[in-house]
Symmetry: C2
Subunit: 511 residues, 2 copies
Amino acid sequence: MTAEAQHRRGGTAGRRAERAAAPILQRRQIVRKIPLVELLDAEGLELVHRTSMIILEEIGVEFRDPVAIAAWKRAGADVRGQRVHLPEGLLMELLSTAPAEYVQHARNPERNVTIGGRHTVFAPTYGSPFVRDFENRRRYGTLEDLQNFVKLAYMTPNLHHSGGVICEPVDVPVPKRHLDIVYSHIRYSDKPFMGIVTHEERAADCIKLVRLLFGDGFIDAGNTVMTSVVNCNSPLVWDQTMLSAMRVYARDNQAVLVTPFIMAGAMAPAATAGSVAQLNAEVLAGIAYAQLVRPGSPMVYGNFVTTVSMLSGAPMMGTPEPAMMIYFTAQLARKYKLPLRSGGMLTGSKIADAQAAYESMQTMLPTLMAGANFVLHSAGWLEAGLAAGYGKFMLDADQIAMLQIFAEGPDLSEEGIAMEAIREVGPGGHYLGCAHTRRNFKTAFYTSTLADNNSYEQWEAEGGKDADRRASERAQQLLRRYEAPPIDAAVNEGLRDFIARRKVGLPDGVT
Amino acid sequence: MTAEAQHRRGGTAGRRAERAAAPILQRRQIVRKIPLVELLDAEGLELVHRTSMIILEEIGVEFRDPVAIAAWKRAGADVRGQRVHLPEGLLMELLSTAPAEYVQHARNPERNVTIGGRHTVFAPTYGSPFVRDFENRRRYGTLEDLQNFVKLAYMTPNLHHSGGVICEPVDVPVPKRHLDIVYSHIRYSDKPFMGIVTHEERAADCIKLVRLLFGDGFIDAGNTVMTSVVNCNSPLVWDQTMLSAMRVYARDNQAVLVTPFIMAGAMAPAATAGSVAQLNAEVLAGIAYAQLVRPGSPMVYGNFVTTVSMLSGAPMMGTPEPAMMIYFTAQLARKYKLPLRSGGMLTGSKIADAQAAYESMQTMLPTLMAGANFVLHSAGWLEAGLAAGYGKFMLDADQIAMLQIFAEGPDLSEEGIAMEAIREVGPGGHYLGCAHTRRNFKTAFYTSTLADNNSYEQWEAEGGKDADRRASERAQQLLRRYEAPPIDAAVNEGLRDFIARRKVGLPDGVT
């Protein structure tokens, strides 16, 4: 029996043959060597900054949380009710303790990532209630889907972060969901992951899980092992759910992506620079608060930017104004010496069609060129975040691999200049057989295994499949040859025991 | 009867209503205000330049054309057989007469474009034998298809150039085809267009057509009214067909995109920088020759770059190495003070699916960021150039509109900063109804009419169409309300008369 036939039968030997044919190689995280692109000149950057300072001092930000309000009063801010007015001096003093970059540890130290500086980390999509499945049908996500995405991210060499709620496991009751989500990342991957922020108690559970995984000593020493995400209620409101979760993480030196989620025109002005001035004020107020909780806690300058269609009220992605906002926020984050979270493979399309890909790249290339450090929603995002797609996940991951190569910049070595080959071949010759080509053909050019560059006739003979179809099939192939990374049996037992006991005390109903 | 019902009947009144509802507005050509992105530092740029100089002097370029060889001998080049060895001094002296930018005149002076400097012009795809039609079927292109694409380009506000052989009109015999192609651009559009280069005589016919259109005096005064494209036979060969056509155009001061068509790994080394060093030598030799024909003739530093898959031999587009090559060539063109032709919406995909869009944007965004001045293949390209797609044309044009807005850079005016709105709305408010939003909602954010950002339910109720399907339907709608721009009756008669007489002397068979 051929390996292919075995594989169709799903046999162990077939899977082993598939693995041997295509081992899982993890690439080192991106350390960009290409220059940063900046759209604002010094004067423009200063104008946006100054506008944010006026917003923070004159209008202020609401912290709808008594603990935070008390902290702001102690810090000497001008607090009127829930409205905190922040003078630039106090703000900058607080921001000065936030680190410009930090290491997020993974349970496999080879998968540790640095977040900040010239480093970029790509993480999967986050928070979709729906899944677009292997048959390109839309249905609610399940725990199995979440675990499938964790496994796919684990097997993707250019995703350096496992993410968090890649899709909502709707088959698990909400109060228990966080335990299964975080355990799935721990068990089915060895890459760094995110904690849960939907409730202070759930954040505390995540802390307990990582204490079991890494040991109390490791966490108490201030090592960061989670990067979670909290959202501002734009305009200019931080609510208690987000603040209390952020507090739990900050206390143990765990990182948070402090992220205004902007639909400009609705939650921010119908103006590109003005929207950024507002979100800048929101981010800085949030990060400053985290520094009150624990000076030095690693916080990422986050943003998620869309515009609202004045025709339909729908959010729009991949259009020029969000791209500009990504560039602006990158310059601001660098000005304040903070790591930047921005961008992603965003789209409003329901399926992984041309709209999805145009919009994704019109978001993602600016994300790379602007110099984002943490990129959530890098793979799988569809339908303005309502759905996670298996095909889209694989297609996005393929593009990310290309972005990583691009970020490595020009090869100007002797092999890169190839004068030897040019001399050897000469006018009218061809390069396919020359010594330089034979030496370099495996590595010279990125070759996508999802893109179809064959002849029309061959493509048609192979079923005339579109890219999404091919990618979806590839996801299934990959999952068939998945093998979980090893985990210490006692640690695993401890995690499972904690989760089982914890679940008993939690209600089953969706709250 | 409603206007919609009339329109379904295809009535004149219906078409008139459609036109009134959406008049054709032409946007001014792009004059970029965003910074240029450069991947090579000064040392890297000098290294590539020096490598090209070594290639030109030591290896040389073959000019397989006795007229060119004679000219090179007169110019004092080191000519050995067909091999021309060019010292840097002679080369730079010749290049110094080529203009850094030029105006290409259109028959409607409002459609004139500047090519070079901070200006960018987008032109449709070029040269496809096949068409992907309104039913998403692949078939040979016809003259009607070509004219449809000319009409669509005319009606597209952000395409500032009508292009040339958008698709091959296979229903017209090859020796007569050039006449119908150029006449179609003249009659069905008033935007600038390209001449034909497949034969010296056909190029001469194009010159005759534009002399009839613009008048001998206008052409003899040195006004440029065509920008055509010639290809180098890489590596390092210029053939007689291309050189003789280039000569015809250069003599009358008509512009040419002097373009090596590179499949790196086959026609250039399996190395990114090395491929650019070779193509740079090829371009410069071609442009220098045009300056021998007529000093000061406007020539564009052209390139079309792909890599070859070492697995299948197929060309690959939208991958990181061609993107880098686009950036490199842009820096080189600026070094030599020449306008740059590069990029396009390139893809190997057979259909306008996610692959097509990812690859197109991975080519087109580098094209914009690098600062290309003339972008051929900006709309409609599929299947590595073998097919022109109606849906793809519309989708690409939509993306181009976004690139144009992005290229205009940040709006940092008082309306752009929107402090008034932020003050008015305050924490927890919303912007939809505020005065600033009401003033700006029509222009604040680009709203694609091809992207579907509606709810899943609405999208499904409307047929669950993918982007290509919607775009293809839009192309049909647009063509229904097309109206030809006016043309002087006597000029039109003169053109038609010349073409009719000329066709008599030309064979019918495909040669």
